[in-house]
Amino acid sequence: MKIMICPLNGPRNISEFVYGGQVKAMPDPQSVSDVEWAKYVFYEKNDIGVVHEWWLHSPSSYWFIAERHNASDEIIRTYPADELFQHRIEFTSNEGET
C-alpha cells in the first residue's frame, strides 16, 4: 500500500485518503459556452505527465492538493489547498438575488 504525505497529518497509508478528482479551474458560468462548460465538467487531463489532484484525508476531513505522475504513480508533492486558492471567488449577475 502506498504512503501519501498529508500536509496536516504527515505520512499515512493511502487507504486513509479519498480521491477528489483533478484540480480544474471553473470557467465563468455566466459567459462560458455550453460546449466549454461540458468539457470542464466531464473532461480530465489524460496525457502522460504530472497531474494536480484533490485528495482528502478522511479522518480529519482535510482537503489538499497532490502533484502526481500519472504513469509512474509517484506522488511528487502535496501541499495545502490555500497555496492554490488564495482569493475569495465571487459570482455575479445582472439579475437580482432571491
Partner: protein, 185 residues
C-alpha cells in the same frame, strides 16, 4: 442556551470499565469542549490556556485539562476530572472562533496498560509504539475501519491512550478493542 443535564446525560457505553492488563474505560461523560476558526488560538490564549506548539499535539494546561490541537485552528479541551455539567446548544458564537460539538458527537475511551500499543497495532495502521508516538502526540486516523482520534498522554500518573470515536460507532469500537485485547488478558 445551557442547562444542568448531567442527570440525564447518557454515554452509548454506559460508563463501562473493563479491567485487566490493559484496561478500557469509558470517559464519554467527562467534560470537553472546543473552538475552531482562525481566531480560535487567540481566543483560547486570551482565556489563559496553554496551547500545543503544532497540530496533532496535546499539552496539559490549568489543572489537568488537556488541550489538543487538531489543526492550526481547531482545539479540543479535555477535562478528565469532571463530568459534563452543562450541555451547550452553542447558538452563540463569535466570528472566527466557533464552539465545537465534541462533547456530544464523540465517545471517549481510555486505554491503560503495558501493551496498549501492541493492542492498537491490531486495529490501526499508524505506528503507535512508544518510541515513535510520544506522550503528547495525537493522530487523526482510522481504527478498525472507522475514523478515530488517538492521543497519548499522562492521566493521573499513567501513560494512556485516549480514543475519540463517533458516538454512533462507540459500541462497535469497544467490541473491536475487546476482541483485540483477548490475547493480552
Amino acid at each position: 442556551m445551557s442547562t444542568n443535564l448531567n442527570m440525564v446525560f447518557e454515554s452509548p457505553l454506559a460508563g463501562v470499565h473493563h479491567n485487566g492488563h490493559i484496561s478500557i474505560q469509558d470517559y464519554t461523560k467527562k467534560h470537553r469542549w472546543g473552538l475552531r476558526g482562525k481566531g480560535a488560538a487567540e481566543a483560547l490564549r486570551t482565556q489563559g490556556w496553554d496551547l500545543p506548539e503544532q497540530p496533532n499535539r496535546l499539552v496539559s494546561s490549568n489543572n489537568e485539562t488537556l488541550v489538543m490541537a487538531l489543526s492550526q485552528r481547531e482545539f479540543w479541551l479535555l477535562d478528565p476530572e469532571n463530568d459534563a455539567l452543562a450541555v451547550a446548544m452553542d447558538e452563540d458564537f463569535i466570528t472566527d472562533a466557533y464552539p465545537l460539538f465534541c462533547q456530544d458527537s464523540h465517545a471517549w475511551l481510555v486505554l491503560k496498560g503495558h501493551q496498549t500499543s501492541a493492542l492498537m497495532a491490531k486495529l490501526c495502521g499508524v505506528d503507535l509504539r512508544p518510541e515513535t508516538f510520544k506522550i503528547g502526540d495525537v493522530a487523526q486516523t482510522q481504527m478498525a475501519l472507522i475514523n478515530c482520534i488517538i492521543a497519548r498522554h499522562d492521566l493521573a500518573g499513567d501513560d494512556v491512550f485516549s480514543l475519540f470515536v463517533d458516538q454512533s460507532f462507540a459500541e462497535y469500537a469497544l467490541e473491536a478493542l475487546l476482541d483485540a485485547r483477548q490475547e493480552f488478558l
